[in-house]
Structures are given as structure tokens and as C-alpha cells.
């Protein structure tokens, strides 16, 4: 198992990220969702007059990210920060409002149908809730055969069945269970099946959207180990979406911290946890309930996350930031590269105030 450690340990991750080959490139990504779909829903009665207002949820507001081959890039943030939207945009389940996504040098966000098919095989997704992501009317065997038959239409039935048996064994599911239905399994087993479905077509890139959040602690460890083993054996690249910072510290090569649809800090895991720079990252890290009793009091943030409907001006975090100044209220901070090669979007860091 030492191989696993060597593969994923941040210590062995290449410090020269700029030179690392990037598999997925996200540039200037925006995604807005209309709050009201129809014309009638957009009408509001205000001060005795009927006005039409078309409000938008600004889920992603200018995100640049690249995922390097072989790494596990973790995207963390609280609910509503847009991390799951990123996962869905990358997988082509949503189309961006602006910006582009390229995979292996090829732009994929404007592709449709057949064009996208080869990429759908190379990129797979694992969803958060294994109770919802498995079709209740299909047996496990059918669930696992479906992607294979779809992507390899010329395979014979024995070929497909062999592959299914293979992949089931590799995630620790008894091939005998193939005849059963999803509801007959526990949450941990279901998530294994969902992972098996993703691995069945031999992808090189996996987007995992909170894959262990719905599971119990002892089961979380099992599934996380499985994901790390799969990475070592198959040289997978992960885009790992989570809100659990303890998992990030363990699993991630690099971390992108998101707040209200923007990336506020991007760093390799070790330096992020050792020395978080952005005030939001600092608050987030200090809020993890730790086992030790001698940790310092957590950084108290005032207020709560604003709604992504009316974004704050300037830095989106300024309303809760203890270091906010006039400039933060007016000017949107850009990601700047700090001396250790990491990136942070904060005026206070840039000016050397913190």
C-alpha cells in the first residue's frame, strides 16, 4: 500500500505545478440560473405598479482552474458556493453561461451528442447520494453493464460480463450480488456500486461530487481507501468536490477554496493547511471540530453567506471579513500568485496587511 501513499501524498506531489501537464482547463467560467422561468413568474407587483424583473442566481462567477494529470484537485466550500455546479459543468450536465472548458487540449463545453461521446467515456462522475444515483428498477448487473454496452457496442455478452465481474471484484463487491437490486444494499455498498459503474469504462478522469458525505464515519474510510486504491492502480485524475476539510487534507493534491462562485484560494494541500492565507480559508479551517481540546478559539465570522442572487460589490467575502477595507468593497480581487507558487484572491494579502 506504500504505492498509494506515494501516489497521493502532497509531499511527493510535484512542486512545479506550472509545468505539470494539465488535463482539464477551465477558463473564465460563468454560470447563471434564471430565478424565474416563465414570463409570468418574472412579474412583480411593486409600489402599485407591475414590473418585470428577471433575476439570476450567480452560481459561478469567473472561475479559472486547471486539473493536472494524476492529481486529486479538491474543491471545498460551503453550501451555495458553486462547487457542485462546477462538477456538473465539467461533465457537460449543464452548459456554461460564459467561459470555456477544455479537456486534453480540446474544447468540450460546446460539444453535443456524438462529438462528446468519447469524452463521456474518459470522464466519469460519482454522485453524492448513492440512494438516488442507482436506478431502483435495475439489478446491479444491469446497472454495471449499461455503460459498457453503450460505450462498446461491438463487445460480445461474455466480454461485457467478464468486465463487470472484474470491476465488481476491484471495488470489493461479491459478483454474486449482481442479481440483486440497489435497495438491498447499505449506503457504503451502494457507493461502491456507483464507483464500480464509473470505473467500468476505464475512465482517466473522475469527478466525484461529495462521494462520502452521505456515509457513516467507518464507511467513509472504506470508500476513501477504495478511491485512493483506484487512483494508484489506474492512474486516475480526480476532481473531488467536498465540504469536509479533514478529507481534503488527507486526499487532495491541491485545493481550491470557493466562496460565492469564485475561487478565493488555490494552493497545494500541505501549504494550505499549514498556512492558509485568505481570511475565509482561515475561518473555514479554524471551524473544523478537532479532537484535541487545546486548539485556539475559532475565527468568528460575522453574518452569513449572502445569497448569490444579489452579489456583494467588490470582494464577495467583504461583508464577513474581519480585514475588509474600502478597496475590498469596491474592487474585485483577482487571483495573484504568491511567493510560494500558490494563488490567493485577497486585497489584504496583496497589500501585505495580513
Amino acid at each position: 500500500m506504500n504505492a498509494v501513499a506515494a501516489q497521493t501524498s502532497p509531499a511527493t506531489a510535484s512542486p512545479t505545478h506550472a509545468e505539470a501537464e494539465s488535463l482539464l482547463e477551465i477558463r473564465g467560467l460563468y454560470k447563471h440560473f434564471p430565478l424565474a422561468d416563465g414570463f409570468l413568474e418574472q412579474l412583480h407587483f411593486e409600489k402599485g405598479r407591475l414590473v418585470r424583473r428577471n433575476e439570476q442566481v450567480h452560481a459561478i462567477n469567473g472561475v479559472d482552474l486547471s486539473v493536472h494529470r494524476g492529481e486529486a484537485l479538491c474543491v471545498v466550500g460551503e453550501s451555495g458556493c458553486g462547487k457542485s455546479t462546477i462538477a456538473r459543468l465539467v461533465m457537460g450536465l449543464l452548459s456554461p453561461s460564459a467561459g470555456d472548458i477544455s479537456y486534453d487540449g480540446q474544447r468540450i463545453d460546446n460539444m453535443r451528442g456524438k462529438q462528446l461521446l468519447p469524452y463521456r467515456q474518459r470522464m466519469q462522475m460519482i454522485f453524492q447520494n448513492p440512494y438516488a444515483s442507482l436506478n431502483p428498477r435495475m439489478t446491479i448487473q444491469q446497472t454495471l453493464e449499461e455503460p459498457l454496452r453503450f460505450h462498446h457496442p461491438n463487445w460480445t455478452t461474455p466480454q461485457v460480463q467478464d468486465k463487470v465481474a472484474d470491476v465488481m471484484a476491484s471495488v470489493g463487491i461479491d459478483p454474486e450480488w449482481g442479481k440483486r437490486f440497489g435497495h438491498e444494499f447499505s449506503g457504503g455498498q451502494r457507493q461502491r456500486i456507483a464507483i464500480a459503474r464509473a470505473l467500468a469504462v476505464d475512465p482517466e478522469f473522475i469527478v466525484a461530487d461529495e462521494p462520502i458525505s452521505a456515509l457513516d464515519v467507518s464507511i467513509q474510510a472504506q470508500v476513501l481507501n477504495l478511491l485512493m486504491d483506484a487512483q494508484a492502480e489506474r492512474h486516475l485524475t480526480y476532481l473531488f468536490i467536498t465540504h469536509d476539510l479533514a478529507v481534503v487534507e488527507h486526499f487532495g493534491t491541491r485545493v481550491a477554496v470557493m466562496y460565492l462562485g469564485t475561487v478565493c484560494e488555490l494552493a497545494d494541500t500541505r501549504s494550505l493547511f499549514a498556512k492558509p492565507k485568505h481570511p475565509y480559508t482561515q475561518a473555514l479551517l479554524s471551524a473544523i471540530p478537532r479532537l484535541e481540546d487545546d486548539r485556539p478559539e475559532h475565527v468568528r465570522l460575522s453574518g452569513e453567506v449572502p445569497t448569490p442572487v444579489h452579489l456583494p460589490s467588490g470582494c464577495v467575502f467583504h461583508g464577513r471579513c474581519p480585514h475588509a477595507m474600502e478597496r475590498c468593497r469596491q474592487e474585485v480581487p483577482q487571483l495573484i500568485v504568491t511567493d510560494d507558487g500558490n494563488q490567493v484572491a485577497c486585497h489584504a494579502v496583496e497589500e501585505g496587511r495580513i
Partner: protein, 333 residues
Amino acid sequence: MALLEVSNLDVRFALRQGEVRALRDVSFTLDRGERLGIVGESGAGKSVAAFTLLNLIAKPGYIAGGSIRFEGNDLARMSARDLRRVRGNRISMIFQDPMMTLNPVLSIGEQMVESLKAHRRISTREARAIALHKLKQVYIPSPETRLHQYPHELSGGMRQRIIIAIALLLDPDIIVADEPTTALDVTIQAEIMTLLRELCEKHNVGLVLITHDLGVVSQMTQRTLVMYAGRVIEQGPTREIINDAQHPYTQGLLNALPQMTTPGSRLNQIPGSMPALSNTPSGCAFHPRCQYRYDASGQPRRDCLEEVPEFVTSGNCDVACHMVRDMLAKEAS
């Protein structure tokens, strides 16, 4: 005498498929102002334990045995009328989901006044004044406005703070909180937990905190109860349990946390999963997942398979494990 004394509690659910034993032989005490954590994974029976404390188990569930003594009176055998005097008044409860707990058609003020007037003979004006005072205690910004607002106008963290204010409304002796922050984000969780702890300390309120998060227990409580498959398997001072857990399950649970291994290496997983309460293994319920179930010659231990382990005292902790019992016996001889 302890403020709350639970002994040999046995809760069952009479289902069509047969009887499910949700709690077996659960005993613990809570002193005035003490904070107790109940940890376990889903299906361990911790939420049933919380509901039973207020005798809120609904059919087909029932309390089959044991007692819940609050100031000497057994809540398990109290009349509905007497129970109403305790619930919400002397012992109040905070539920898991702040979206579901508040009544959506009543304003915050109405809900608070309602529960005050249900327990005390006071005017609406007085009740509103108390409600306002409690909202200030939980640091709700502009509390006067909140009284007129409805739950849907407030964020999750704000709602949970209002629920804490309602729980404190009648100055209870005990608050039972069932996973109060599971639905919330980490920064809000940290805020709510700090608030809850400070208020309990300030007003000398006892807290029974149900959670699956060992980190939360470690930050919040003085004593901890670990549950597995409907039974308490280990209990003692929180620090001792976190630093030196005796039961193999507690050890496994702690060791499975990512922070217990160096980043990037394999996590220490416990094999298998929690058994269903309808189908708990014989003997020690943890034995199919336990690495100590074999004896020195590699044979499965008969006692783990067949006998339910009794509590033995190790340090300040009570542990229900045959292996720990043998180890202690060896040390003693």
C-alpha cells in the same frame, strides 16, 4: 442524586416483520449543568435514545423496560398530563433539521409566545418581552424584527439559533440536542456549537448532545457515551475516551478519521457495516467486525460469539468488551 437517571432502558418497535429492539439495557446519568455526548453511527440507536428521554417514542415503538428518572420521577411511567409539564419546560429538545422544526405558518414571535403561555400564566406582552430577551441571548441581529418574521424568511443558521432560543425559553434544566448542526455548514456549525456551550455553562443547563461527529463531542462535552447496535458499549470522561479509547469499536471509529493517519496514506477502516437492529449478531454485536474476536491460537472466541459483554471499569471509563475484561484481569493478577 443525579438530575437525570436512566437505567436499563429497553425500547422496542413492534413491526409486522417482528419486534425490533432499538435500545437494550441503556443506563446513564446526567448531573445538573453537565454536558453529555452520545455518539454512534446511523442505526446505533442514538436518536431513539434522545426521543425516549422525553418519552416521545410513538407507536409502534414502546418502552419495554427500565426507567428514566428525572428528579426522582419516572418519565417512562408518567401520565400524559404530567409529562407535558416536563417537556419543553424542564427538559427541552433541539431537533436535527431547523427547516422542519419551526411552524411555517406562525411568525417567530407567535411560536415563542405560544410555548411560554402554555407553561406559564403570563400576559402576551410579558411573553413577548421574554421572547425578545432570549433572542438577544442567542445574538440574533435586530430581534424585534425577527419576532414578526416567518421561518422561511430566515437562513438555516438563524433558524437554528431561534430554535436554541425557544429551547431556552422556559429556563429548562436539560436540553436534549439531536444532531443540532448536521444540516449546517462548518462555519455556522462552529458558531452554533460555541453558542450552545456558552449558554449551557452560563445558565447551568445540562446538555445531552447526540452526534456522529467525534470532533464535536470532543469540543462540547465532559462525558461521552458510545453506542453500537442499540447498546452502550463505552462511557466515560470525553477526554479519556478521545485520547485512550478502550473498546475496539471506539478505537476503530477514532482511527478511521482522516486526521489520525498521515495525509495520503490508507485510512484505518473498520471492515463491514453496522448491523440492522432487526438482525443484531449474537453475543457482542460488534464481533463480526472486531479484530480481537480470535484467541491466541487463532480460533474465534466463544465468549464474543455467545455472551453479551458486561461493563468493566478501566480507568474512569466503563467498557463492555470481553477482550478488555481479560486484559484487565491479567493486569490485576
